[in-house]
């Protein structure tokens, strides 16, 4: 049997962690949680995940960017989903598809909160299923 895919979820909101853990655990993934950028960095040193989901604003406003960057340095091929409500709050929008954004946003997809369970499941399945073809090709 194929080993279970490992997903790292980093968010300082306990409820979000719990929900994502339930949703993804229910899909058969092995979910590892961290509640801050620092915890996330530590976790990534001891674990090579198949995918990571990170919140943007945690202990620092740009924690998610830093963590995603760190992650891509360690594991360049592992897809990162950034989960955020930041556009809502700041009105600064950015995306992970335009070439200009891709040069500095080290995430493969950005999802605006709140997300539906089916969105997370679909996106995770697609990113994991398509890893062999290269992640950058993922369509919005």
């Amino acid at each position: 049997m194929e080993p279970r895919k490992k997903i790292v979820v980093v968010d300082d909101d306990e409820d979000v962690l719990e929900q994502l853990s339930q949703i993804l655990g229910g899909e058969g993934y092995e979910v590892h949680m961290a509640a801050s950028q620092a915890e996330g960095e530590e976790l990534l040193l001891s674990l090579h995940p198949d995918l990571a989901i990170v919140d943007l604003m945690m202990e620092e406003q740009d924690s998610g960017f830093v963590l995603a960057h760190y992650m891509k340095k360690l594991y360049p091929d592992v897809p990162v989903i950034m989960l955020t409500g930041v556009t809502s709050a700041t009105r600064l929008s950015f995306d992970a598809t335009a070439p200009e954004s891709r040069s500095w946003v080290k995430a493969d997809r950005i999802l605006d909160k709140p997300v539906r369970a089916e969105q997370v499941k679909e996106l995770v399945a697609r990113l994991l299923g398509r890893r062999r073809h290269g992640v950058g090709a993922e369509a919005h």
């Binding site: 409500g85 556009t87 709050a89 335009a98 709140p114 499941k121 399945a125 090709a137 369509a139 919005h140």
Partner: protein, 574 residues
């Protein structure tokens, strides 16, 4: 009739009529921000105030009944000053960002500020950061409460026309706002993504979730093959986005413009509508013959599908399992056409141009694709207009072109899908053939046509008494579902379009259309049908070839794999 005086003119009105109705009939301009045609007045914005002589009162014309012998003033200094103050007050907490607003140039508040000569910020904005959050969570819509003027039109269209009530007023006094249940955001609400709220919003508080950046990036990427499909209702509506007369069919010019902007292939979703008829017609005949769930309900309109899943899951078995034409086209592009062309399906970026915001949600549904999504991005008619402006394409300077085959040729039955009743009419034309082996002598099904929200049809086909119903606007659909729930059993086939009048009035269509403009879009579709030589889906040679080369037969194995889907009950606060 009763008589009254307005600005010194004698005017006749029917008893019980409001001042607004009587004055507008006479061509007297009365501004409003909250009034909606054919709906009860709400009197929320007060911009329609007029002065009643003798009483000293300023009354709202939208809700004030005409009284015999009254004398009113619609443009006295007092009226104009009061209207200007109302706009200034609305602007007091409105962001000054017209330059960046997607509705700039099409905003009622902006044009009223111009009309009433508002030239300064009369009331300073409250200090401190904006407390209101943008709701970006929905795959279809963006809601910006900072630009909301609380006119209530979106709330009313959502509740009274669509029967959804995803949004409502919350809070009291200065803290009043419009929001979703528990303020959770549109994405988790019962919103069906129809976008009718965008069409009625007088400001930029409601817009579509744009995919322009992604499409522009794909067009610039040499490693991608960008394929467009355009829905039946788009070619008869795009004219209004580019300053042409409503109801002008710009099909050939639009195809030329898409190619000019870098789309590698352009297909016509009406082809997939023909394909839908082959599948859905066969499904209906199959259900009638084998005792399947009846009445069968159409599944082309994604807002309606989400509505059933959320509000009436007991009717899920009645929904046709056919994917919508958009998704069928997406599926055959990546699974059949790409291989036929020797193109890696991974390199195909499939963009659909739709009159609809719910299509953005539909293409993101997990069921809509296998390893690859059937459709990658959806642009509304408005977004296509914007893309054309961004690329500086002069449509009138282009030579009309035909769409690409194998998915470029359509019957006119596929084209009339864009109007409420069109799917029904196209289906009857083909089901008649399937059941009797004969073509209809006159293919026009007049009772299915027109803007009425509920249209019933009865016919005897091959000895079978068939009942059918066409509804548009989900409030009408809800009433019909309630009748079915109460035991009504004389119907076999029901066409439901989420938006009133069908896709020609979809939530992705040009802003500011009145009933006359929507009618001219509808007339354009039937004109195309009248003048066409191929009027039935089952004779579309390319559809037949697709079955021959790839799909086998309607409802066959490949069809089931690619063209059919399933639906699930949805949880949302209702």
């Amino acid at each position: 009739m009763i008589g009254f005086q307005a600005d010194g003119r004698s005017i006749k009105a029917n008893p019980g009529e409001t001042l607004l109705t009587a004055l507008r009939r006479e061509g007297i301009h009365i501004p409003t921000l909250c009034h909606m045609e054919d709906m009860l007045p709400s009197g929320a914005c007060r911009l329609c105030i007029v002065e009643v002589e003798g009483s000293g009162a300023l009354v709202p014309a939208c809700s004030y009944p005409v009284a015999a012998d009254m004398a009113i003033h619609t443009r006295s200094p007092r009226v104009l000053e009061a209207r200007k103050t109302i706009v200034e007050l609305l602007l007091a907490n409105h962001p000054d960002d017209c330059l960046y607003c997607s509705r700039s140039g099409k905003c009622d508040l902006q044009s009223l500020s111009v009309q009433l000569d508002v030239r300064q910020r009369a009331f300073p904005a409250l200090p401190g950061p904006q407390q209101v959050e943008l709701d970006m969570s929905s795959p279809s819509l963006v809601r910006d409460p900072a630009k909301c003027i609380l006119c209530g039109r979106c709330v009313r269209v959502c509740e009274e026309v669509q029967g959804v009530s995803a949004i409502d007023f919350m809070g009291r006094g200065a803290r009043t706002k419009i929001g979703t249940a528990f303020d959770q955001g549109l994405n988790l609400s019962s919103c069906i993504n129809c976008g009718q709220c965008i069409l009625v919003c007088p400001t930029g508080a409601l817009t579509e979730q744009s995919s322009l950046d992604e499409v522009v990036a794909a067009l610039a990427d040499a490693g991608k093959v960008v394929v467009a499909q355009h829905a039946p209702a788009v070619s008869v509506s795009l004219a209004e986005e580019i300053g042409l007369k409503a109801g002008t069919d710009v099909d050939g010019l639009m195809v030329a413009a898409l190619r000019h902007m870098g789309f590698d292939y352009v297909f016509d979703t009406s082809f997939a509508a023909d394909l839908t008829i082959m599948e859905e017609g066969s499904e209906l005949v199959e259900r009638i013959r084998s005792g399947g769930a009846l009445p069968m309900m159409t599944s082309c309109s994604p807002g309606w599908i989400k509505y059933v899943e959320t509000f009436y899951p007991e009717f899920i078995p009645n929904l046709s399992t056919c994917k919508s034409p958009q998704q069928m086209m997406g599926a055959v592009i990546k699974n059949y056409w790409a291989e036929r062309q020797g193109i890696d399906p991974e390199k195909v970026v499939s963009v659909s141009i739709m009159p609809c915001t719910a299509k953005k949600f539909e293409c993101s549904r997990p069921e809509m694709g296998n390893e690859l999504r059937d459709v990658d991005y959806v642009l509304t008619t408005r977004e296509l207009g914007q893309l054309i402006r961004m690329f500086g394409v002069e449509l009138q300077g282009l030579e009309p072109q035909l769409a690409d085959n194998p998915f470029g040729e359509r019957s006119s039955a596929g084209k009339i899908f864009g109007a409420s009743g069109g799917v029904m009419e196209a289906a009857i034309r083909s089901v008649h053939y399937l059941l009797t082996g004969r073509e209809m002598e006159d293919v026009r099904i007049q009772p299915a046509r027109g803007m009425k929200g509920v249209k019933e049809l009865r016919a005897t086909v091959d000895g079978l008494e068939v009942g059918a119903c066409v509804v548009s606007g989900l409030g009408n659909a809800r009433d019909l579902l309630e009748q079915l729930r109460a035991g009504r059993d004389d119907l076999h086939f029901i066409e439901v379009m989420t938006c009133p009048g069908g896709c020609i009035n979809g939530g992705g269509q040009p802003i500011g259309a009145d009933l006359a403009r929507i009618r001219s879009r509808m007339e354009a579709l039937y004109r195309i049908d009248r003048e066409d030589t191929l009027q039935v889906s089952h004779k579309n040679p390319w559809v037949l070839r697709l079955y021959e080369e790839f799909l086998g037969k309607p409802l066959g194995h490949e069809s089931h794999r690619l063209l059919h889907t399933h639906y699930d009950k949805r949880e949302a606060p209702v």
